[in-house]
Protein backbone atom coordinates (compact mmCIF):
# COMPACT_ATOMS: atom_id res chain seq x y z
CA UNK A 1 0.00 0.00 0.00
CA UNK A 2 1.27 3.46 -0.88
CA UNK A 3 2.08 5.49 2.20
CA UNK A 4 0.69 8.98 1.69
CA UNK A 5 1.80 10.10 5.14
CA UNK A 6 -1.80 10.78 6.12
CA UNK A 7 -3.06 8.72 9.06
CA UNK A 8 -5.61 6.18 7.98
CA UNK A 9 -8.31 7.66 10.20
CA UNK A 10 -8.13 11.04 8.43
CA UNK A 11 -8.35 9.56 5.00
CA UNK A 12 -11.39 7.39 5.67
CA UNK A 13 -12.89 8.38 8.99
CA UNK A 14 -15.91 6.15 8.60
CA UNK A 15 -14.03 3.05 7.46
CA UNK A 16 -11.41 3.52 10.17
CA UNK A 17 -14.09 3.60 12.82
CA UNK A 18 -15.77 0.58 11.28
CA UNK A 19 -12.44 -1.25 11.22
CA UNK A 20 -11.88 -0.42 14.88
CA UNK A 21 -15.36 -1.64 15.74
CA UNK A 22 -14.80 -4.78 13.75
CA UNK A 23 -11.46 -5.34 15.47
CA UNK A 24 -13.10 -4.89 18.86
CA UNK A 25 -15.80 -7.38 17.94
CA UNK A 26 -13.22 -9.73 16.54
CA UNK A 27 -11.19 -9.61 19.75
CA UNK A 28 -14.26 -10.31 21.84
CA UNK A 29 -15.13 -13.21 19.60
CA UNK A 30 -11.57 -14.48 19.58
CA UNK A 31 -11.34 -14.75 23.37
CA UNK A 32 -11.29 -18.39 24.44
CA UNK A 33 -13.99 -17.73 27.04
CA UNK A 34 -16.59 -16.31 24.66
CA UNK A 35 -18.21 -19.68 23.85
CA UNK A 36 -18.48 -20.87 27.42
CA UNK A 37 -19.95 -17.56 28.62
CA UNK A 38 -22.78 -17.88 26.12
CA UNK A 39 -23.30 -21.54 26.95
CA UNK A 40 -23.34 -20.89 30.70
CA UNK A 41 -25.91 -18.11 30.29
CA UNK A 42 -28.15 -20.33 28.13
CA UNK A 43 -27.96 -23.21 30.61
CA UNK A 44 -28.57 -20.89 33.55
CA UNK A 45 -31.67 -19.42 31.87
CA UNK A 46 -32.92 -22.87 30.87
CA UNK A 47 -32.84 -24.20 34.42
CA UNK A 48 -34.06 -20.90 35.88
CA UNK A 49 -37.20 -21.40 33.79
CA UNK A 50 -37.68 -25.17 33.90
CA UNK A 51 -36.09 -26.36 37.16
CA UNK A 52 -38.16 -25.60 40.29
CA UNK A 53 -36.33 -23.69 43.04
CA UNK A 54 -33.21 -23.33 40.83
CA UNK A 55 -33.01 -19.64 41.70
CA UNK A 56 -33.05 -20.21 45.48
CA UNK A 57 -30.07 -19.33 47.67
CA UNK A 58 -29.71 -22.96 48.75
CA UNK A 59 -29.38 -24.25 45.21
CA UNK A 60 -26.93 -21.51 44.26
CA UNK A 61 -24.81 -22.28 47.35
CA UNK A 62 -24.85 -25.92 46.41
CA UNK A 63 -23.70 -25.17 42.87
CA UNK A 64 -20.78 -23.16 44.24
CA UNK A 65 -19.93 -25.97 46.64
CA UNK A 66 -20.04 -28.56 43.85
CA UNK A 67 -17.88 -26.35 41.63
CA UNK A 68 -15.10 -25.56 44.05
CA UNK A 69 -13.23 -28.84 44.32
CA UNK A 70 -13.51 -29.84 40.65
CA UNK A 71 -12.65 -26.24 39.83
CA UNK A 72 -9.39 -26.22 41.76
CA UNK A 73 -8.36 -29.36 39.88
CA UNK A 74 -9.39 -27.75 36.58
CA UNK A 75 -7.17 -24.70 37.22
CA UNK A 76 -4.09 -26.95 37.20
CA UNK A 77 -5.32 -29.00 34.26
CA UNK A 78 -5.82 -25.77 32.27
CA UNK A 79 -2.24 -24.62 32.87
CA UNK A 80 -0.99 -28.00 31.79
CA UNK A 81 -3.20 -28.19 28.72
CA UNK A 82 -2.08 -24.72 27.60
CA UNK A 83 1.50 -26.01 27.86
CA UNK A 84 0.47 -28.82 25.52
CA UNK A 85 0.12 -31.74 27.96
CA UNK A 86 -2.53 -33.82 29.74
CA UNK A 87 -2.90 -35.18 33.23
CA UNK A 88 -5.25 -38.11 33.78
CA UNK A 89 -3.84 -38.82 37.24
CA UNK A 90 -5.35 -35.77 38.98
CA UNK A 91 -8.37 -37.70 40.30
CA UNK A 92 -6.16 -40.32 41.92
CA UNK A 93 -3.76 -37.68 43.24
CA UNK A 94 -6.75 -35.86 44.77
CA UNK A 95 -7.68 -39.07 46.59
CA UNK A 96 -4.08 -39.68 47.59
CA UNK A 97 -3.67 -36.13 48.96
CA UNK A 98 -6.77 -36.50 51.12
CA UNK A 99 -5.79 -40.04 52.14
CA UNK A 100 -2.28 -39.11 53.24
CA UNK A 101 -3.49 -36.21 55.37
CA UNK A 102 -6.23 -38.26 57.09
CA UNK A 103 -3.87 -41.11 57.87
CA UNK A 104 -1.13 -38.80 59.15
CA UNK A 105 -3.55 -36.73 61.27
CA UNK A 106 -4.90 -39.91 62.84
CA UNK A 107 -1.28 -40.86 63.53
CA UNK A 108 -0.92 -37.64 65.52
CA UNK A 109 0.94 -35.38 63.05
CA UNK A 110 0.36 -31.63 63.42
CA UNK A 111 -2.11 -30.43 60.75
CA UNK A 112 0.18 -27.94 58.93
CA UNK A 113 2.95 -30.55 58.72
CA UNK A 114 0.61 -33.22 57.30
CA UNK A 115 -0.67 -30.77 54.68
CA UNK A 116 2.78 -29.51 53.70
CA UNK A 117 4.21 -33.00 53.35
CA UNK A 118 1.18 -34.13 51.31
CA UNK A 119 1.64 -31.14 48.97
CA UNK A 120 5.34 -31.90 48.69
CA UNK A 121 4.54 -35.51 47.74
CA UNK A 122 2.08 -34.21 45.14
CA UNK A 123 4.74 -31.86 43.75
CA UNK A 124 7.04 -34.85 43.51
CA UNK A 125 4.41 -36.86 41.63
CA UNK A 126 3.87 -34.02 39.16
CA UNK A 127 7.60 -33.56 38.68
CA UNK A 128 7.99 -37.27 37.99
CA UNK A 129 5.15 -37.13 35.43
CA UNK A 130 6.84 -34.17 33.78
CA UNK A 131 10.28 -35.80 33.69
CA UNK A 132 8.86 -39.00 32.21
CA UNK A 133 7.15 -36.97 29.50
CA UNK A 134 10.01 -34.58 28.68
CA UNK A 135 13.08 -36.78 29.25
CA UNK A 136 11.81 -40.23 28.28
CA UNK A 137 9.51 -38.79 25.61
CA UNK A 138 6.50 -40.87 26.62
CA UNK A 139 3.19 -39.23 25.73
CA UNK A 140 1.57 -37.55 28.71
CA UNK A 141 -1.67 -39.51 28.19
CA UNK A 142 0.24 -42.76 28.75
CA UNK A 143 2.36 -41.51 31.64
CA UNK A 144 -0.61 -40.12 33.54
CA UNK A 145 -2.85 -43.09 32.70
CA UNK A 146 -0.22 -45.17 34.43
CA UNK A 147 -0.29 -42.62 37.24
CA UNK A 148 -4.08 -42.85 37.48
CA UNK A 149 -3.82 -46.60 38.15
CA UNK A 150 -0.75 -46.42 40.36
CA UNK A 151 -1.93 -43.68 42.72
CA UNK A 152 -5.45 -45.14 42.93
CA UNK A 153 -3.83 -48.35 44.08
CA UNK A 154 -1.86 -46.31 46.62
CA UNK A 155 -5.09 -44.79 47.95
CA UNK A 156 -6.60 -48.27 48.24
CA UNK A 157 -3.49 -49.47 50.03
CA UNK A 158 -3.43 -46.70 52.65
CA UNK A 159 -7.18 -46.80 53.29
CA UNK A 160 -7.42 -50.58 53.10
CA UNK A 161 -10.41 -49.99 50.81
CA UNK A 162 -12.60 -48.61 53.60
CA UNK A 163 -13.67 -45.06 54.43
CA UNK A 164 -11.51 -43.53 57.15
CA UNK A 165 -12.86 -40.78 59.38
CA UNK A 166 -10.78 -38.17 61.15
CA UNK A 167 -10.37 -39.20 64.80
CA UNK A 168 -11.06 -35.71 66.15
CA UNK A 169 -11.98 -32.16 65.15
CA UNK A 170 -9.11 -29.97 64.04
CA UNK A 171 -9.74 -26.22 64.34
CA UNK A 172 -7.02 -25.63 61.73
CA UNK A 173 -9.16 -27.30 59.08
CA UNK A 174 -11.81 -24.55 59.56
CA UNK A 175 -9.49 -22.59 57.32
CA UNK A 176 -10.86 -24.63 54.42
CA UNK A 177 -14.31 -25.51 55.73
CA UNK A 178 -16.25 -22.37 56.55
CA UNK A 179 -19.17 -20.38 55.18
CA UNK A 180 -19.24 -16.69 54.35
CA UNK A 181 -22.97 -16.11 54.39
CA UNK A 182 -24.34 -18.33 51.62
CA UNK A 183 -20.91 -18.71 50.00
CA UNK A 184 -18.90 -21.80 50.89
CA UNK A 185 -15.28 -21.15 51.93
CA UNK A 186 -14.11 -23.78 49.47
CA UNK A 187 -15.50 -21.61 46.67
CA UNK A 188 -13.49 -18.65 47.97
CA UNK A 189 -10.35 -20.82 47.79
CA UNK A 190 -11.35 -21.69 44.22
CA UNK A 191 -11.67 -17.99 43.37
CA UNK A 192 -8.30 -17.36 45.00
CA UNK A 193 -6.65 -20.00 42.81
CA UNK A 194 -8.38 -18.63 39.69
CA UNK A 195 -7.05 -15.13 40.36
CA UNK A 196 -3.55 -16.32 41.25
CA UNK A 197 -3.11 -18.60 38.25
CA UNK A 198 -4.78 -16.19 35.82
CA UNK A 199 -2.21 -13.57 36.81
CA UNK A 200 0.61 -16.10 36.44
CA UNK A 201 -0.46 -17.33 33.03
CA UNK A 202 -1.44 -14.01 31.45
CA UNK A 203 0.98 -11.55 33.00
CA UNK A 204 4.27 -13.19 33.85
CA UNK A 205 7.26 -14.29 31.85
CA UNK A 206 6.53 -17.87 32.92
CA UNK A 207 2.99 -17.53 31.55
CA UNK A 208 4.35 -16.44 28.17
CA UNK A 209 6.55 -19.53 28.23
CA UNK A 210 3.58 -21.78 29.06
CA UNK A 211 1.61 -20.50 26.04
CA UNK A 212 4.71 -20.70 23.83
CA UNK A 213 5.61 -24.25 24.91
CA UNK A 214 2.14 -25.44 23.97
CA UNK A 215 1.73 -23.27 20.87
CA UNK A 216 5.01 -24.19 19.19
CA UNK A 217 7.49 -26.35 21.00
CA UNK A 218 10.26 -26.09 18.38
CA UNK A 219 9.97 -22.35 17.92
CA UNK A 220 9.84 -21.76 21.68
CA UNK A 221 12.97 -23.84 22.14
CA UNK A 222 14.79 -22.00 19.34
CA UNK A 223 13.94 -18.69 20.98
CA UNK A 224 15.44 -19.79 24.28
CA UNK A 225 12.35 -20.88 26.19
CA UNK A 226 13.26 -23.75 28.53
CA UNK A 227 10.32 -25.83 27.26
CA UNK A 228 10.99 -28.99 29.27
CA UNK A 229 11.37 -27.10 32.53
CA UNK A 230 8.16 -25.19 31.86
CA UNK A 231 6.24 -28.41 31.24
CA UNK A 232 7.62 -30.11 34.35
CA UNK A 233 6.56 -27.11 36.43
CA UNK A 234 3.06 -27.24 34.93
CA UNK A 235 2.80 -30.94 35.80
CA UNK A 236 3.89 -30.14 39.36
CA UNK A 237 1.25 -27.38 39.60
CA UNK A 238 -1.49 -29.69 38.32
CA UNK A 239 -0.64 -32.38 40.88
CA UNK A 240 -0.35 -29.90 43.75
CA UNK A 241 -3.68 -28.30 42.91
CA UNK A 242 -5.31 -31.75 42.72
CA UNK A 243 -3.93 -32.64 46.14
CA UNK A 244 -5.07 -29.23 47.48
CA UNK A 245 -8.57 -29.95 46.23
CA UNK A 246 -8.43 -33.34 47.98
CA UNK A 247 -7.33 -31.76 51.25
CA UNK A 248 -10.01 -29.07 51.03
CA UNK A 249 -12.66 -31.70 50.31
CA UNK A 250 -11.39 -33.82 53.20
CA UNK A 251 -11.77 -30.88 55.61
CA UNK A 252 -15.39 -30.53 54.54
CA UNK A 253 -16.26 -34.24 54.77
CA UNK A 254 -13.89 -35.13 57.67
CA UNK A 255 -13.11 -38.37 55.93
CA UNK A 256 -11.57 -40.08 52.97
CA UNK A 257 -12.56 -43.17 51.05
CA UNK A 258 -10.80 -45.28 48.47
CA UNK A 259 -12.83 -43.95 45.55
CA UNK A 260 -12.38 -40.25 46.33
CA UNK A 261 -11.76 -38.29 43.12
CA UNK A 262 -12.58 -41.17 40.75
CA UNK A 263 -13.43 -40.00 37.20
CA UNK A 264 -12.71 -36.42 38.21
CA UNK A 265 -9.86 -36.19 35.69
CA UNK A 266 -12.30 -36.54 32.82
CA UNK A 267 -14.72 -33.97 34.24
CA UNK A 268 -11.76 -31.61 34.60
CA UNK A 269 -10.62 -32.14 31.01
CA UNK A 270 -14.21 -31.61 29.93
CA UNK A 271 -14.54 -28.32 31.81
CA UNK A 272 -11.20 -27.07 30.49
CA UNK A 273 -12.08 -27.86 26.87
CA UNK A 274 -15.56 -26.41 27.23
CA UNK A 275 -13.79 -23.36 28.68
CA UNK A 276 -12.00 -22.74 25.39
CA UNK A 277 -8.71 -24.60 25.69
CA UNK A 278 -7.21 -26.46 22.73
CA UNK A 279 -6.15 -30.04 23.35
CA UNK A 280 -3.04 -29.31 21.30
CA UNK A 281 -1.96 -26.48 23.61
CA UNK A 282 -1.16 -22.80 23.19
CA UNK A 283 -4.65 -21.64 23.88
CA UNK A 284 -6.88 -21.74 26.94
CA UNK A 285 -8.24 -19.71 29.80
CA UNK A 286 -8.52 -20.39 33.50
CA UNK A 287 -11.59 -18.17 33.79
CA UNK A 288 -13.12 -20.12 30.89
CA UNK A 289 -12.37 -23.43 32.59
CA UNK A 290 -13.92 -22.12 35.82
CA UNK A 291 -17.08 -21.21 33.92
CA UNK A 292 -17.00 -24.67 32.38
CA UNK A 293 -16.91 -26.18 35.88
CA UNK A 294 -19.81 -24.00 37.06
CA UNK A 295 -21.75 -25.03 33.97
CA UNK A 296 -21.22 -28.70 34.78
CA UNK A 297 -22.41 -28.10 38.34
CA UNK A 298 -25.49 -26.22 37.10
CA UNK A 299 -26.39 -29.16 34.87
CA UNK A 300 -25.93 -31.63 37.75
CA UNK A 301 -28.11 -29.55 40.11
CA UNK A 302 -30.68 -28.57 37.51
CA UNK A 303 -31.37 -32.12 36.35
CA UNK A 304 -31.84 -33.28 39.94
CA UNK A 305 -34.30 -30.45 40.59
CA UNK A 306 -36.22 -31.36 37.44
CA UNK A 307 -36.46 -34.93 38.69
CA UNK A 308 -34.58 -36.29 35.71
CA UNK A 309 -32.66 -39.53 36.45
CA UNK A 310 -29.00 -38.92 37.22
CA UNK A 311 -27.68 -40.94 34.30
CA UNK A 312 -28.98 -38.32 31.91
CA UNK A 313 -26.44 -35.99 33.47
CA UNK A 314 -23.65 -37.88 31.75
CA UNK A 315 -25.51 -37.94 28.45
CA UNK A 316 -26.11 -34.18 28.61
CA UNK A 317 -22.51 -33.45 29.55
CA UNK A 318 -21.31 -35.60 26.69
CA UNK A 319 -23.35 -33.62 24.19
CA UNK A 320 -22.16 -30.32 25.67
CA UNK A 321 -18.52 -31.42 25.39
CA UNK A 322 -18.75 -32.31 21.73
CA UNK A 323 -20.64 -29.11 20.94
CA UNK A 324 -18.07 -27.04 22.80
CA UNK A 325 -15.14 -28.71 21.06
CA UNK A 326 -16.81 -28.04 17.71
CA UNK A 327 -17.43 -24.36 18.53
CA UNK A 328 -13.84 -23.92 19.75
CA UNK A 329 -12.54 -25.43 16.57
CA UNK A 330 -14.62 -23.10 14.41
CA UNK A 331 -13.72 -20.02 16.47
CA UNK A 332 -10.06 -20.92 16.18
CA UNK A 333 -10.27 -21.38 12.43
CA UNK A 334 -12.09 -18.10 12.04
CA UNK A 335 -9.62 -16.11 14.13
CA UNK A 336 -6.49 -17.66 12.70
CA UNK A 337 -7.24 -16.75 9.12
Amino acid sequence: MADTGVPVEERHPSTAAAAARERFGWRLFARPESGVIMAAVVIFLFFAIFAPRFLSVNVMSNILLLSAELGIVAVGVTMLMVSGEFDLSVGSVLGLGAGMVVVWLNAGWPVPLAILVALAVAAGIGTLNGLLVTRMQIHSLIVTLGGLMFYRAAVLAITGGFPIRLGEDYPFLELFNFWWGPIPGTFLWFVGFIVLFTIIITSTRFGNWVYASGGGREAANEMGVPVSRVKVLCFACASMLAASAGIIQMSRLNSVDALRGTALELEAVLAVVVGGALLTGGRGSIVGAALGVIMVSMIKQGLILMGIPAFWFKAGIGVVLILAAYINHRVQQATLQ
Binding site: A19, R27, R205, N208, A212, G216, E222, L278, G282, L336
Partner: protein, 269 residues
Protein backbone atom coordinates in the same frame (compact mmCIF):
# COMPACT_ATOMS: atom_id res chain seq x y z
CA UNK B 1 46.86 -24.79 14.61
CA UNK B 2 46.89 -22.42 11.67
CA UNK B 3 46.21 -19.28 13.62
CA UNK B 4 45.96 -16.11 11.55
CA UNK B 5 49.17 -14.09 11.58
CA UNK B 6 49.21 -11.90 14.66
CA UNK B 7 48.53 -8.29 13.73
CA UNK B 8 47.26 -5.38 15.78
CA UNK B 9 43.63 -5.74 14.72
CA UNK B 10 40.91 -6.68 17.16
CA UNK B 11 40.44 -10.37 18.01
CA UNK B 12 37.68 -12.17 16.10
CA UNK B 13 34.25 -11.80 17.57
CA UNK B 14 33.69 -15.50 17.02
CA UNK B 15 36.12 -18.24 16.12
CA UNK B 16 34.69 -21.56 15.06
CA UNK B 17 37.35 -24.15 15.95
CA UNK B 18 37.38 -27.62 14.42
CA UNK B 19 33.69 -28.32 14.84
CA UNK B 20 32.55 -31.86 14.01
CA UNK B 21 29.07 -33.24 14.38
CA UNK B 22 27.54 -36.58 13.43
CA UNK B 23 24.00 -37.87 13.55
CA UNK B 24 24.26 -41.63 13.83
CA UNK B 25 26.45 -42.67 10.92
CA UNK B 26 25.95 -39.43 9.02
CA UNK B 27 28.84 -37.01 9.36
CA UNK B 28 27.19 -33.62 9.04
CA UNK B 29 30.24 -31.49 9.85
CA UNK B 30 33.95 -32.34 9.72
CA UNK B 31 36.55 -30.05 11.31
CA UNK B 32 34.89 -26.79 10.38
CA UNK B 33 36.88 -23.69 11.33
CA UNK B 34 36.50 -20.02 10.45
CA UNK B 35 36.49 -16.59 12.08
CA UNK B 36 34.01 -13.76 12.10
CA UNK B 37 35.45 -10.31 12.80
CA UNK B 38 33.60 -7.43 14.46
CA UNK B 39 31.64 -5.47 11.88
CA UNK B 40 32.10 -8.14 9.25
CA UNK B 41 29.42 -9.80 7.14
CA UNK B 42 30.21 -13.41 6.35
CA UNK B 43 28.24 -15.19 3.65
CA UNK B 44 27.91 -18.87 4.52
CA UNK B 45 27.37 -20.73 1.28
CA UNK B 46 26.91 -24.32 0.29
CA UNK B 47 24.59 -26.66 -1.54
CA UNK B 48 21.75 -28.50 0.16
CA UNK B 49 23.21 -31.01 2.57
CA UNK B 50 26.57 -29.21 2.78
CA UNK B 51 26.05 -28.74 6.51
CA UNK B 52 24.93 -25.11 6.73
CA UNK B 53 21.90 -25.75 8.91
CA UNK B 54 23.76 -28.06 11.27
CA UNK B 55 26.55 -25.51 11.62
CA UNK B 56 24.06 -22.75 12.41
CA UNK B 57 22.29 -24.93 14.95
CA UNK B 58 25.54 -25.52 16.82
CA UNK B 59 26.20 -21.77 16.76
CA UNK B 60 22.88 -20.97 18.35
CA UNK B 61 22.89 -23.72 20.93
CA UNK B 62 20.29 -26.08 19.44
CA UNK B 63 22.90 -28.82 18.79
CA UNK B 64 26.11 -29.35 20.73
CA UNK B 65 29.15 -30.18 18.57
CA UNK B 66 30.73 -33.63 19.10
CA UNK B 67 34.23 -32.16 19.05
CA UNK B 68 35.67 -28.67 18.71
CA UNK B 69 34.27 -25.47 20.11
CA UNK B 70 33.97 -21.73 19.84
CA UNK B 71 35.93 -18.74 21.01
CA UNK B 72 33.70 -15.75 21.68
CA UNK B 73 35.61 -12.48 21.99
CA UNK B 74 38.70 -14.29 23.25
CA UNK B 75 36.95 -16.74 25.56
CA UNK B 76 36.30 -20.41 24.89
CA UNK B 77 32.65 -21.29 25.00
CA UNK B 78 30.21 -24.06 24.08
CA UNK B 79 26.66 -22.86 23.62
CA UNK B 80 24.62 -25.07 25.93
CA UNK B 81 21.20 -23.87 24.81
CA UNK B 82 19.58 -21.24 22.60
CA UNK B 83 19.05 -19.26 25.80
CA UNK B 84 22.79 -19.31 26.46
CA UNK B 85 23.67 -18.25 22.90
CA UNK B 86 21.13 -15.44 23.07
CA UNK B 87 22.48 -14.23 26.43
CA UNK B 88 26.00 -14.23 24.93
CA UNK B 89 24.89 -11.79 22.25
CA UNK B 90 23.77 -13.91 19.31
CA UNK B 91 20.49 -13.10 17.57
CA UNK B 92 19.12 -15.60 15.09
CA UNK B 93 16.54 -15.47 12.34
CA UNK B 94 15.73 -19.13 11.82
CA UNK B 95 14.78 -20.54 8.48
CA UNK B 96 11.57 -21.89 10.04
CA UNK B 97 11.16 -18.35 11.49
CA UNK B 98 10.55 -19.68 15.03
CA UNK B 99 7.28 -17.82 15.36
CA UNK B 100 4.22 -19.29 17.05
CA UNK B 101 1.16 -18.68 14.87
CA UNK B 102 -1.38 -19.02 17.66
CA UNK B 103 0.29 -16.34 19.82
CA UNK B 104 -0.07 -12.61 19.35
CA UNK B 105 2.50 -10.61 17.41
CA UNK B 106 3.85 -8.81 20.46
CA UNK B 107 4.20 -12.03 22.47
CA UNK B 108 6.15 -13.51 19.57
CA UNK B 109 8.43 -10.49 19.43
CA UNK B 110 9.32 -10.83 23.11
CA UNK B 111 9.52 -14.63 23.02
CA UNK B 112 12.58 -15.60 25.02
CA UNK B 113 13.35 -11.90 25.61
CA UNK B 114 10.55 -11.23 28.08
CA UNK B 115 13.09 -9.87 30.56
CA UNK B 116 13.38 -6.72 28.40
CA UNK B 117 9.89 -5.73 29.54
CA UNK B 118 9.67 -7.44 32.91
CA UNK B 119 9.39 -5.96 36.36
CA UNK B 120 10.46 -8.21 39.20
CA UNK B 121 8.13 -8.32 42.17
CA UNK B 122 9.01 -10.77 44.93
CA UNK B 123 11.25 -12.71 42.57
CA UNK B 124 8.53 -13.14 39.94
CA UNK B 125 8.99 -11.53 36.51
CA UNK B 126 5.83 -9.71 35.51
CA UNK B 127 5.54 -8.70 31.87
CA UNK B 128 4.59 -5.07 31.38
CA UNK B 129 2.21 -5.87 28.57
CA UNK B 130 1.32 -2.32 27.55
CA UNK B 131 5.00 -1.41 27.30
CA UNK B 132 5.67 -4.63 25.39
CA UNK B 133 2.95 -3.74 22.86
CA UNK B 134 4.36 -0.23 22.43
CA UNK B 135 7.90 -1.48 21.90
CA UNK B 136 6.69 -4.17 19.51
CA UNK B 137 4.80 -1.59 17.45
CA UNK B 138 7.88 0.69 17.48
CA UNK B 139 10.24 -2.10 16.48
CA UNK B 140 8.03 -3.02 13.55
CA UNK B 141 7.34 0.49 12.29
CA UNK B 142 11.03 1.36 12.73
CA UNK B 143 11.71 -1.32 10.14
CA UNK B 144 8.91 -0.04 7.94
CA UNK B 145 6.68 -3.01 8.70
CA UNK B 146 3.01 -2.25 9.15
CA UNK B 147 0.71 -4.63 10.97
CA UNK B 148 -2.85 -3.71 11.89
CA UNK B 149 -2.62 -4.71 15.53
CA UNK B 150 0.21 -6.21 17.57
CA UNK B 151 -2.37 -8.18 19.54
CA UNK B 152 -3.54 -10.18 16.54
CA UNK B 153 -2.17 -13.69 16.24
CA UNK B 154 0.78 -14.18 13.89
CA UNK B 155 -1.41 -16.72 12.06
CA UNK B 156 -3.25 -13.86 10.31
CA UNK B 157 -0.03 -12.61 8.68
CA UNK B 158 1.39 -13.55 5.27
CA UNK B 159 4.65 -15.45 4.89
CA UNK B 160 6.58 -12.28 4.16
CA UNK B 161 5.07 -10.52 7.16
CA UNK B 162 5.98 -13.44 9.41
CA UNK B 163 9.53 -13.25 8.15
CA UNK B 164 9.53 -9.55 8.98
CA UNK B 165 8.40 -10.31 12.56
CA UNK B 166 11.20 -12.82 12.93
CA UNK B 167 13.71 -10.33 11.53
CA UNK B 168 12.38 -7.38 13.52
CA UNK B 169 12.88 -9.10 16.85
CA UNK B 170 16.38 -10.26 15.89
CA UNK B 171 17.62 -6.83 14.82
CA UNK B 172 15.74 -4.77 17.41
CA UNK B 173 17.37 -6.21 20.50
CA UNK B 174 21.02 -5.69 21.43
CA UNK B 175 23.32 -8.24 19.80
CA UNK B 176 26.94 -8.61 18.65
CA UNK B 177 26.35 -11.36 16.12
CA UNK B 178 23.33 -11.62 13.88
CA UNK B 179 22.72 -14.95 12.15
CA UNK B 180 20.28 -14.97 9.24
CA UNK B 181 19.26 -18.36 7.86
CA UNK B 182 17.71 -17.90 4.40
CA UNK B 183 16.26 -14.52 5.36
CA UNK B 184 15.05 -13.68 1.87
CA UNK B 185 13.38 -16.97 1.04
CA UNK B 186 9.76 -15.80 1.33
CA UNK B 187 10.25 -12.16 0.38
CA UNK B 188 9.38 -9.96 -2.57
CA UNK B 189 12.09 -7.97 -4.34
CA UNK B 190 11.28 -4.84 -2.37
CA UNK B 191 11.26 -6.69 0.96
CA UNK B 192 14.54 -8.37 0.05
CA UNK B 193 16.19 -5.02 -0.57
CA UNK B 194 14.99 -3.96 2.85
CA UNK B 195 16.44 -7.04 4.55
CA UNK B 196 19.80 -6.55 2.85
CA UNK B 197 19.63 -2.95 4.04
CA UNK B 198 19.31 -4.13 7.65
CA UNK B 199 22.41 -6.26 7.20
CA UNK B 200 24.34 -3.15 6.08
CA UNK B 201 22.98 -1.22 9.01
CA UNK B 202 23.92 -3.94 11.51
CA UNK B 203 27.48 -3.87 10.11
CA UNK B 204 27.63 -0.08 10.40
CA UNK B 205 26.68 -0.39 14.05
CA UNK B 206 29.60 -2.77 14.56
CA UNK B 207 27.68 -6.02 14.73
CA UNK B 208 28.93 -9.11 12.94
CA UNK B 209 26.59 -10.92 10.59
CA UNK B 210 26.51 -14.46 9.23
CA UNK B 211 24.10 -14.74 6.34
CA UNK B 212 23.09 -18.07 4.83
CA UNK B 213 21.38 -17.96 1.47
CA UNK B 214 20.88 -19.96 -1.67
CA UNK B 215 20.75 -16.77 -3.63
CA UNK B 216 24.31 -15.95 -4.63
CA UNK B 217 23.56 -12.44 -5.80
CA UNK B 218 21.98 -11.58 -2.43
CA UNK B 219 25.03 -12.96 -0.63
CA UNK B 220 27.31 -11.07 -3.01
CA UNK B 221 25.59 -7.75 -2.36
CA UNK B 222 26.17 -7.68 1.39
CA UNK B 223 29.04 -10.02 2.31
CA UNK B 224 32.66 -9.05 2.97
CA UNK B 225 33.86 -12.60 2.98
CA UNK B 226 32.52 -16.04 2.07
CA UNK B 227 32.81 -19.36 3.82
CA UNK B 228 31.88 -22.17 1.44
CA UNK B 229 30.85 -25.51 2.89
CA UNK B 230 31.14 -28.66 0.80
CA UNK B 231 30.19 -32.14 2.07
CA UNK B 232 30.37 -31.05 5.70
CA UNK B 233 33.79 -29.39 5.52
CA UNK B 234 35.06 -25.91 4.65
CA UNK B 235 35.89 -25.92 0.93
CA UNK B 236 37.36 -22.45 1.06
CA UNK B 237 37.24 -19.11 2.82
CA UNK B 238 37.61 -16.17 0.44
CA UNK B 239 37.42 -12.40 0.53
CA UNK B 240 35.06 -10.80 -1.90
CA UNK B 241 37.91 -9.08 -3.82
CA UNK B 242 39.61 -12.44 -4.42
CA UNK B 243 36.79 -14.06 -6.37
CA UNK B 244 33.90 -13.47 -8.71
CA UNK B 245 30.43 -14.99 -8.76
CA UNK B 246 31.52 -17.81 -11.06
CA UNK B 247 34.29 -18.87 -8.69
CA UNK B 248 31.77 -19.01 -5.87
CA UNK B 249 29.37 -21.09 -7.93
CA UNK B 250 32.22 -23.51 -8.72
CA UNK B 251 33.17 -23.72 -5.07
CA UNK B 252 29.62 -24.50 -4.08
CA UNK B 253 29.11 -27.10 -6.79
CA UNK B 254 32.48 -28.86 -6.77
CA UNK B 255 34.25 -27.79 -3.60
CA UNK B 256 37.02 -26.09 -5.61
CA UNK B 257 37.63 -23.08 -7.80
CA UNK B 258 37.77 -23.53 -11.54
CA UNK B 259 41.18 -24.80 -12.66
CA UNK B 260 42.11 -26.01 -9.20
CA UNK B 261 42.35 -29.66 -8.37
CA UNK B 262 39.80 -30.84 -5.83
CA UNK B 263 40.72 -32.39 -2.53
CA UNK B 264 39.71 -35.86 -3.72
CA UNK B 265 41.66 -35.64 -6.97
CA UNK B 266 44.77 -34.53 -5.10
CA UNK B 267 44.48 -37.49 -2.80
CA UNK B 268 44.04 -39.77 -5.81
CA UNK B 269 47.01 -38.30 -7.71
Amino acid sequence: MTAPAPDNGPPPRLSVRDISKSFGHVKALTNVSFDVMPGEVVGLLGDNGAGKSTLIKTLCGVHKPDTGGFVWEGEEVIFESPRHAMATGISVVYQDLAVIPILSIYRNIFLGRESEVCRKVAGISFMMKEKAKEIAADALSGLGIHVPDVESPVAVLSGGERQSISLARAVYFQHQLLILDEPTAALSLKETAKVLGYVDEARRKGASVIIITHNLSHAWQVSDRFVVLYHGGVADTVRKDEVDLDDLADLINTGRRNGERGVEEEAAA
